[in-house]
Structures are given as structure tokens and as C-alpha cells.
Amino acid sequence: MKQWLFRLIAIAVLMLLCLWIWRTFFPSPEKIIRNRLNQVAKLASFDSKEGDFARMANVLNLVGYFTTDAECIFISSDVDPWTAHGRDDLRGAALYARSRLTALHVEFFDATVVFAPDKQTATVKLTVRASRPGDKDFLVEEMKVHLRNVSGTWLIARAETVKTLT
């Protein structure tokens, strides 16, 4: 009886381990998109300790998460509205933000991912929260992000704010 129970537990543990390994090495497209968005939030964040080399590397890395023709439309009551078309604009905006602010912390919450029937594009709805450490002011906006699968890599093709209260 005991041996039978031990075997059952061992099989269950083994199956869970296999599932975990499978999910780690072969993540679902949704998981990949969520991870990439977390990376975008990390790269969009910066602090005063960021050196010149790291700043440039992070900005270039951040821009790499967008398609070459990416469009960003950010309209918020908390900051001046801005739009960016293409990677050059985005690079400029990221460098401008780093030159104007000493630190910025960007977080994405409550993301929902919906794939198009062809599975080559996806729409993510999420809430973005941007704040400056030690500052009471912060920004919260609802966003819609469209991603495109370009040669196996999910890139942001369009990101726009959504008005929560109409």
C-alpha cells in the first residue's frame, strides 16, 4: 500500500516537473508576450545611477521591442500628449525622458492578451503606471498594445492610451 502511494506521488511530481520544464523551454505565445512586455517596462524604467553607456544600451534595447514602423500615441491628463512614429522617434522620446527626469519607474498591470485568428498579431489591454521614486505624482493610464509576429519575434506595432472615463 505504502509503496503504491509512494509511486503515485513520485509519478505526480515527475509529471509536474516535466510540465514545468516544458513551459520553461517552450513557453506559450501569451507567456512570451507577457515576458516581453515586462522587459519593455523594465527598459523604460531608469534611475539616476544609470550610466551613459547603460542608458544608450537600454534605449537601443527598448526600441528593439518595437517594429520599424511602430506608432505610439500617448494622451494623458497628467503629461503633455505625444506621438511617435518609427524607432527613431521612440529612441528620441526615450532619451528625452532620461534627460528630463532623474528616475522613472514603469509598471504594467492587469494585461489581457487576445490573438487574431491567424495567430500572427495580438492585442494586449493593460494598465500602465509610471512614477518617479520619492515623488507623490504618478501616472495611471489604460493602454491598448498591438503586437505583430515578425519572423518569430513578437514586436509592438502600435501602442495607444485608452480613455477610461469618457
Partner: protein
Amino acid sequence: MNSSAAAAKQPYRPSWLRIVLIGRKPKNTLIRIVVLVAVCFVVFNFILLPIQVDGISMLPTYRDGQINFVNRLAYRRHEPQRGDVVSIRLADPEVSHPHVLYMKRIVGLPGETVSFVGGHLLIDGKVLDEPYVKKFCDWEIGPVKLEPDQYFVVGDNRSMPEALHKKGGAYRWQIMGKVLL
């Protein structure tokens, strides 16, 4: 009767520390803990959602950093009322426990026309008495006709510039519940 035999007959008494930590009957304590955890999980996920106020838009009624709860069952039997302080979801309805919510007061009900003239809130052209507003403003907002399932929400802190204050029509599905305290 010798002393060792008497000690053997005495019932086992757990130490006071053990009694404090796990009770006289550990099995019962374990059952109580499991029940308590289950009750807390259900209550704080599906009935009373704990929130922390972040920002100044609801001053002076709610201060920045204050802890509160959202009653998610408040509108099961009746619809939201004017004057209710509610939490509004930014996220998709699919997200059952959003991390970020707006906290606003309902001032306009479905079908009404809301406007701000000289800082006064007008509902269908009549000035609304707002005892919760302590600092008045000079906001000018054109008439907004609310849809049949839309509520007009605004914060109590009207000393903020109008452009910086999040306000407007919120659909019924966006209202998650009523703020408890």
C-alpha cells in the same frame, strides 16, 4: 503510592508556550487555521477588496495612503446611487482582481446631463448640493449627456486644475463596487 506512579497517573499538560502557539488541541487549531484562511481568501477576494488610496483626487474625504475596502456585493440588489464613492476598473472585465482602480464619487446617473458652470456641478441644469466638496473650483465643462448605462464620476478634490483631474462617464460594468468606509 510512590511519587513516580503518581506522576504517571497525572494527565499530560502541554507547556504554556505550546498552548499559546498551537492550542491545547493542535488538531482543532489546524482546522481553525484552515477555515480562517479559506474565509479570508473568499472575503478579501470576492466580497471586500482591500485597497490603498494613492493620490489626492478624493481629498479631503480620503487621504493619500489610507486603507479601505471595496464592497463588491454592494450593487447586486440595487444600482449605484448618486453620492456613492465607487471603485472603477481600468482593466478588461476578464481581469477579476485588478491591481489598479480609480476611486471616484458618482454625481451623475444614467440618462442625465452633467455640466460644470463656474465650478458648480449642474445635473440637468440644476445645481447639485455637494457637502463633501470643501474647496471650490472654477471648472467649466460643457454638458455631457450620459448613456443609459453610464454614470458620471468625479473626485472630491476640486482644488486641482480641471485638466489634471480624472473624471467622466463610467459604464456600469466598470464599477466594481462601493467603497466601504
